[in-house]
C-alpha cells in the first residue's frame, strides 16, 4: 500500500468518523418559542428528547398546558430540525394526539416527553 493512499484514507476516516453533534445531556438554555396557549393553562418546564434523527438530543422547553399538542409539535419540529409529520410526542408510554391539549395528559414540571418515529402509526 502506497504512503499516498494511506494518507488519503486517514483523511477520509477522520472526516467520516466525526461524531454527529449531540446536544448536552444537561441542557441549560431554556427555549421558549411556543405559541400562545389556546386555552387557559399553567407554565411548565419540560424536557424533550428525540429518539429519531441523526443525533440523540435533549432540550428543555417552557410550555403552557393550554398549548395544543399539534402546536407544540410545530415548535419542537423546528428546534430539532425534523418534519412534524415524521414524529409523534409520547409521554409515559402514551402517544399524544395532535388535537389534544397538554393538560389532557398528566405532564408534570421536569417530565421528559419523547419524539418517537411516525412508524408508530398513531399508537
Amino acid at each position: 500500500m502506497s504512503k499516498e493512499f494511506d494518507e488519503d484514507l486517514d483523511e477520509d476516516l477522520d472526516e467520516d468518523l466525526e461524531e454527529p453533534e449531540v446536544a448536552s445531556k444537561t441542557p441549560t438554555k431554556v427555549v421558549s418559542k411556543t405559541p400562545a396557549p389556546r386555552v387557559a393553562g399553567n407554565d411548565l418546564s419540560i424536557f424533550l428528547m428525540s429518539t429519531i434523527g441523526p443525533g440523540e438530543k435533549k432540550q428543555k422547553l417552557l410550555v403552557n398546558t393550554g398549548n395544543s399538542v399539534g402546536d407544540i409539535k410545530q415548535t419542537v419540529g423546528s428546534i430539532f430540525g425534523v418534519d412534524p409529520s415524521d414524529f409523534h410526542l409520547s409521554h409515559g408510554g402514551i402517544t399524544m394526539d395532535d388535537g389534544n391539549y397538554l393538560k389532557d395528559y398528566p405532564i408534570k414540571d421536569g417530565d421528559t416527553v419523547l419524539l418517537i418515529p411516525a412508524s408508530t402509526a398513531g399508537m
Partner: protein
C-alpha cells in the same frame, strides 16, 4: 435450563440434520416450533423477511395474508418475489418461494383483506404477526387478537426508523387504549367521504371517486389527462367549500401515489426482532422458558444512531376494546336461522333494549361497516363461523358477539 429435544420422536431424520445448529442452542425445543401455527398479516417489506425467518427456523404451520399484488418497486427489499411475475398476488408468490426454502413445513397463502378473512384463522393461530402500513388494518387486527386472546407482534418502519411492539391482550396497551389520531392517508383508506367535504383532502377523494364512477377503474396519476381530471374536479370543490389553497399536480401525485420510503436493512432489523419475539412467545406459552421472557415494551430503533429505546405501554382498563367493561358474548345459530334470534337471545340473557333505538347488527366490511338484515338468515347475510358482530341498541352500549355456526350434521341436536 431445559435440554434440547434433539432426539425427539416428533422429528424426522431430515429435520434433525437441517436444524442441527439450532439444536445446539441452550434451551432449544424444535418440537414446540414444529407444532406451532402462526398467522402472518401483510407480506410486504417486513412480512417477507419475517416469513423467511419463520420458515427457515421451522415453524410448523404458517398462514400468510395479503391483498396486494407484486409491483416492480417491491423488488429492492422483498426477496420472496424475486423471479415471480409482476401482478401475481403476493401471498401466493410468497408461498411458492417459502416451500422451496423449507419443504418440511406447511405454508398457506390467502389473497384477502382482513375483513374477508375467515376468522377461524385467528383462532387457530398461536401468535399473530403483522407487517402492515395502515392504522385501519391494525385496528381491525387489534379487535381480533383481543377477542381470541392472542399475542400480536406488530412492527413498522418509517425511513431510517422502526418499531416493534407485542400486544399481550389485557396485559399491556392495545391499539385502542389511547386515542388514536388518523393521518390523512388513513382517511383515504377509510373512504368515509360522503356528502359535503369536511377537509381539503376530501375534495381530492371525491374527485377520485367521480373518476372511478365514470371509468370504473382508479385514476392513473402518471397519465396527464387523468391527472388533469382530478385537479380540475378537486379544485372546483376546494373553491366551492373554501378549502384553499388549490391543489397542484405535484401534490396530487404525492397524495395518491403515496408510498413510504423503504430500505431492506431497516426492515431486516425490525423483522428479525419480531421473528425472534415470535419464537420466544411460542416457547414461553408452551411452557419452555429457556429462551427468555417475551418483551412487553414498545421498542423503537433509530438506524441513524443505532440506538434502541424501550417504552412501557400501560393498559387502559377503560379501553373501548380491551377494557374491563366491554361486553363480549357468544351465540350459536344454524345457517338457516335469522339474526333477530341474537337480539332476542341477548334480551333473555338480561340485556335491556334501549327504547329510543332500533337494535342493529353490524360487521366490519372492506373500508366500511356493513349493516346486517335481522330478518334474514346467517347464510343470507354471508357470515363466516366466528364472525364478530357488533350489536347496538342496548342500554349498556355496544355488545360484541362471536357468532358460532352449527355444522350441518349437528342440526338435529340443536333446538
Amino acid at each position: 435450563m431445559s435440554e434440547s429435544d434433539f432426539f425427539s420422536n416428533n422429528l424426522t431424520e431430515e429435520e434433525r440434520e437441517l436444524y442441527d445448529r439450532q439444536f445446539r442452542l441452550q434451551g432449544w425445543n424444535q418440537s414446540i416450533l414444529k407444532n406451532s401455527r402462526v398467522l402472518m398479516v401483510g407480506v410486504g417489506g417486513l412480512g417477507c423477511e419475517i416469513a423467511k425467518n419463520l420458515t427457515m427456523v421451522g415453524v410448523g404451520h404458517i398462514d400468510l395474508v395479503d391483498l396486494d399484488v407484486i409491483e416492480h418497486s417491491n423488488l429492492n427489499r422483498q426477496m420472496l418475489f424475486i423471479g415471480a411475475k409482476v401482478a401475481r398476488p403476493k401471498a401466493l408468490a410468497a408461498v411458492d418461494m417459502l416451500k422451496k426454502i423449507n419443504p418440511n413445513i406447511t405454508i398457506k397463502g390467502y389473497r384477502s383483506s382482513l375483513e374477508q378473512l375467515p376468522p377461524v384463522l385467528y383462532k387457530k393461530a398461536d401468535v399473530i404477526i403483522s407487517g402492515l402500513d395502515s392504522m385501519q388494518a391494525r385496528l381491525n387486527l387489534n379487535t381480533q387478537v383481543i377477542r381470541f386472546n392472542k399475542p400480536l407482534v406488530d412492527g413498522g418502519v418509517n425511513g431510517y426508523h422502526g418499531h416493534i411492539y407485542t400486544i399481550f391482550p389485557k396485559i399491556n396497551a392495545c391499539f385502542e387504549c389511547y386515542s388514536v389520531s388518523s393521518s390523512e392517508s388513513d382517511d383515504m383508506a377509510a373512504c368515509t367521504v360522503v356528502g359535503i367535504p369536511r377537509k381539503r383532502i376530501h375534495c381530492l377523494f371525491k374527485a377520485m371517486m367521480k373518476f372511478e364512477e365514470i371509468n370504473s377503474n382508479p385514476p392513473n396519476v402518471k397519465n396527464i389527462k387523468e391527472l388533469k381530471f382530478l385537479k380540475d374536479n378537486a379544485n372546483e370543490l376546494v373553491e366551492k367549500f373554501g378549502f384553499e389553497p388549490l391543489f397542484e399536480e405535484k401534490e396530487i401525485i404525492q397524495i395518491i401515489d403515496h408510498h413510504d420510503p423503504g430500505i431492506i436493512t431497516i426492515n431486516a432489523v425490525i423483522a428479525s426482532i419480531q421473528s425472534h419475539e415470535v419464537i420466544k412467545i411460542l416457547n414461553y406459552i408452551k411452557g419452555n422458558k429457556g429462551l427468555g421472557i417475551p418483551n412487553k415494551s414498545y421498542i423503537i430503533y433509530n438506524g441513524m444512531t443505532a440506538r434502541f429505546y424501550h417504552l412501557d405501554k400501560p393498559r387502559n382498563d377503560k379501553c373501548p376494546q380491551c377494557g374491563d367493561d366491554v361486553l363480549w358474548e357468544d351465540f350459536y345459530l344454524r345457517k338457516d336461522q335469522p339474526l333477530q334470534l341474537i337480539i332476542d337471545g341477548l334480551k333473555m340473557k338480561g340485556h335491556n333494549l334501549d327504547s329510543e333505538m332500533e337494535p342493529i347488527i353490524t360487521i366490519p366490511d372492506f373500508n366500511s361497516i356493513r349493516e346486517l338484515d335481522l330478518q334474514r338468515t346467517v347464510l343470507e347475510n354471508r357470515l363466516f363461523p366466528l364472525s364478530l358482530l357488533t350489536i347496538s341498541g342496548f342500554t349498556e352500549g355496544d355488545i360484541y358477539v362471536t357468532l358460532h355456526i352449527f355444522k350441518d350434521k349437528t342440526l338435529k341436536h340443536s333446538s
